[in-house]
Amino acid sequence: MHELAIATSLVESLLELVKKQSASKVLEVHLSVGKLRVLSIDQLKFSYEILSKGTALEGSLLDVEETPGYARCTNCHYAEKLEIDDLSFHFSLPQMTCPQCGANLILEGGDELLITRVRMLAPSDGSAVPTNELV
């Protein structure tokens, strides 16, 4: 539901970066998003496409790498990767209980929300970079 808010934040961050790097255009944006973030990647991409129109980001590729979360037992050595639509996701996450010893599980990772790499184009004539205002 909050993909638009996150896409807005993303676009603002990127436009700031474009300015700092004096780039003329952004070609690719790579994100790392934790699987435990309650976020629809399709909706995020759709919001990004709309928000980037008329800016240096327009037409750029938004690539999202999803990173897993882990549930780790606070008592024994049990640890498992939490995969969406996997048993782990439907058992471990709602219960947060170790299937081996019954102790409490804690979450590790899976909450990343990072811009990891941006591919940009430097201005060909070396002139000043256009300032891109948010639409």
């Binding site: 539901m1 309650v38 409490n104 811009i115 430097a122």
Partner: protein, 236 residues
């Protein structure tokens, strides 16, 4: 929203950078860092004034406003309280709270399903922090999105009720992981709903053993004092 200033988490690695050329920048920028920065700022601002803030989150219609109102009525003789009310639209909640005679700021998010730290920053500008001990921040009714947006409060209260059925906790685990107190509200109608509140408490205890769970009814006053105590708001 405020423009985001970027400072790179690790040194910028520019692969190639000449006129008209393609270059890559590798970085580690948290997309929500602006919200997190503002939340930290709100937290420091509240701490410097000695004001505690409770983020009240929970499902739509679970009784967040009624619980806040009941707590205020118990606490207002000892503490100076204000309320920030978040809703998509209307001032219904802040009108209800104002009847307790405490300052109230209504924040309408318009289209967003959660409050964010920037909205709270603006709301704090309209509250006399020097003359306060405690702020209740009522988030938008929603068990999903508010968990992702810290506001700068120093404790979280999550409110659910038996009228939402028996599976509210297990279906929304993330919401309960950072709660200090979970109120299971409307227990006066638990039997009529055929929902066992003890089962909901057990679900919370499994997810987050550190959270205190309290059965409440704002209608007959059950558990209100207990919530206040478990939130650590007594004897200040």
């Amino acid at each position: 929203m405020v423009a985001v200033g970027i400072s790179l988490a690790k040194p910028v690695e520019v692969v190639t950078s000449a006129e008209g050329e393609v270059f890559d920048v590798e970085l580690e920028v948290n997309i929500l860092r602006e919200n997190e920065r503002l939340a930290e700022e709100n937290k420091r601002r509240l701490e410097s004034k000695g004001v505690h803030a409770v983020d009240v989150m929970g499902s739509v219609g679970s009784g967040k406003t009624s619980l806040i109102k009941s707590m205020i009525s118990q606490l207002k003789k000892d503490l100076r309280i204000a309320v920030i009310e978040g809703d998509v639209t209307t001032t219904i909640d802040s009108d209800i709270i104002s009847s307790e005679g405490v300052p109230t700021v209504q924040v309408n998010t318009g289209k967003e399903c959660h409050l964010d730290a920037n909205l709270i920053r603006k709301a704090l500008d309209r509250i006399p922090l020097d003359r306060l001990d405690l702020i209740f921040i009522e988030n938008v009714g929603n068990l999903i999105c508010p968990a992702e947006f810290p506001l700068g409060s120093d404790r979280r209260l999550v409110v659910i009720s038996v009228t939402e059925g028996p599976y509210m906790v297990v279906k929304h685990p993330m919401m309960f992981l950072d709660a200090k107190v979970v109120a299971i509200n409307k227990i006066d109608v638990a039997a009529a709903m055929g929902v066992d509140p003890n089962k909901l408490s057990a679900d919370v205890a499994r997810l987050n053993p550190k959270a205190a769970t309290v059965h409440t009814s704002c209608r007959n006053g059950t558990g209100i004092n207990d919530v206040i105590e478990k939130l650590g708001l007594k004897n200040r």
